[in-house]
Amino acid sequence: MQPTLHFDQATDGMMRIHLSGDWTLENILPSAYDVKKQVEGVPQVRLLTFDTKDLQKWDSGLLIFLSKLMEICTEGGITLQKEGLPQGAQRLLSLASAVPERKGARREAVRISLLDRVGDSAIAFWRTNLEMVAFIGEAATALMRLFVGKAQFRSSDLFLTIQECGAQALPIVSLISILVGLILAFIGAIQLKIFGAQIYVASLVGIGMVRALAAIMTGIIMAGRTGAAFAAQLGTMQVNEEIDALQTLGVSPMEFLVLPRMLALFLMMPLLSLYADLMGILGGLIIGVSMLDLNFMEYYNKTIESVRLNDLWLGLFSAAVFGVLVALAGCLRGMQCGRSASAVGEATTSAVVTGIVSIVVAMAVITVVANVLNI
């Protein structure tokens, strides 16, 4: 039944409102402003009463109508007599108005000027950098304590992390490295074939992988895989106050949580990178043998001939540096995490971005320095 609203003729400053039908949210309900218009037509109305004997079903829709009506009545100095309303509605209305709105609770949209925003961002940027430097400093101190044998952490944590970011990363590293080797060989093959120099595909893939690409690709995989996991783990620990609990026990979270993760990645990254070297070369070999009609030994000998030991050392060194960077980025963002679910998400995103950016920057620096030093 449609909800309806009609009024008795006002007598002695009193007006009775008849509510009938189903006053539920599914129906289109009359507005409290209809009552306002009606009341304004009769200036002497000072009291509103209700007749609800024809009211069928009702829900929050009726309550919304009534609470708006109450506001209108308060503004106009009209008394609203709730007695005619259903018992439940009367109680709910009193409940809704029981706690008055706290002063200043409602928020107003504040417009911040461009200059303020630029200033805020600059200060925030400066502060983040300071925090980062402080974090690196603390990590270095923790490392020093490790060397003098005073660092507190559980060796089982270290081994577990080594397993997680070492052995368990092998499948994804294999897949990506083989594919990178394949792609590199494929692109090189098309060009080199023009000069009949397809044997140099072995040099291209070998040097490319061993010197730089294996380390970079492994670093990026680890940033997405392990760096993100570190940030999420430490961030969730921050949310659950687990890090606070460590601190109150006098255990340094830097030593207990960050150090094993940093060590694990520092140790595992060069090994993974070495493995990626082999897988990349294997990828190149597949193209060399299947598309360029080179034979296996030919490809093997050319690779051995062109890759120098220095290339390998440089690749492994870069990998170790990337390991430390990824671990630092993951742990830094995890430790800085706020105390909510969305903060953990932000920390994880930020860890991956920081990890990848620092890998690329570090690679650029290493390349320039290696060039200058003629390595």
Binding site: L25, W58, S67, K68, G88, L92, A96, A105, R339, S340
Partner: protein
């Protein structure tokens, strides 16, 4: 979905028949049989780890029973119903989780509005009206734009309650409503539960081991035992305190002091 008032006749609202709950091979509780009547404030009680919250998860359809049935209203079995009907039934439940379980990336207003936006045909202005009504019912008038991280634990629970009431539910479920609240806030929340039951006419199911709450609001209950892995008593908690012969029930309801000492 509709508000009803003054339900006096004892009509069954939730009927639990022979319910057995387990996680894989690990048995939680077996052979639970009890009835929650319309308008009851039904308490699920028992010591820590006896499966109270698991029972609640079964009652709100988050977990499937290993054996037995949970029937609602006119004897509709939740897990035998069609998926659409199941969704519809779930929306007639309001659930307040232990921590409030507010979505932290949404404001309080958005938290209450989300179920309405997803499952009702209300216009944005109607949704706004319902949101401010529900927040004012739990004493949070004007807090629409706050994020959960900016308010206290008690306020979070009340905001969670406002969200649970978004659809004018028939049954309200509370998981440890007073956990983590100071005695005054816990008492106020009990009062609010009572008031809402009176005015909404809804059935209320509460998981708690807070004795003060149990006696203040409960008129029916079930007592789960962790050792025998089944229910050992059911009924009005005040009557259980006075009449139960089961030593575990007496120990629980008198905080281990025994009935004679308490009297």
């Amino acid at each position: 979905m509709l508000l009803r008032e003054g339900i006096e006749n004892k009509e069954p609202h939730i009927v639990v028949q022979d319910l057995t709950m387990a996680y894989g091979d690990f048995l939680i509780q077996r052979d639970l049989t009890f009835t929650v009547n319309k308008g009851d404030i039904f308490i699920i009680m028992g010591g820590s780890g006896c499966g109270k919250s698991t029972l609640l998860r079964h009652l709100i359809g988050l977990q499937r029973p290993v054996k037995g049935k949970v029937l609602y209203g006119q004897g509709v079995s939740f897990w035998d119903a069609e998926p659409e009907e199941r969704d519809h039934m779930m929306r007639s439940f309001g659930v307040l989780y232990q921590s409030g379980a507010l979505w932290s990336s949404l404001t309080l207003g958005e938290n209450v509005a989300l179920p309405l936006q997803l499952y009702s045909k209300l216009s944005p202005s109607q949704v706004r009206d319902v949101v401010s009504l529900k927040l004012s019912l739990v004493g949070l008038t004007g807090f629409e734009d706050y994020y959960p991280s900016e308010i206290s634990g008690g306020m979070k629970k009340r905001a969670g309650l406002a969200r649970a009431m978004a659809f004018d539910p028939d049954i309200l479920f509370f998981d440890e409503p007073s956990a983590g609240l100071d005695p005054i806030s816990a008492h106020l929340l009990d009062e609010l539960i009572l008031e809402l039951r009176e005015s909404l006419g809804a059935t209320v199911v509460v998981v708690t081991h807070e004795l003060a709450s149990i006696f203040a609001i409960g008129n029916n209950s079930v007592f789960l035992d962790a050792d025998t892995k089944t229910m050992v008593a059911a009924g009005d908690p005040k009557k259980l305190l006075a009449e139960s012969k089961d030593p575990k029930v007496i120990e629980f309801l008198t905080r281990g002091e025994g009935r004679s000492k308490r009297e």
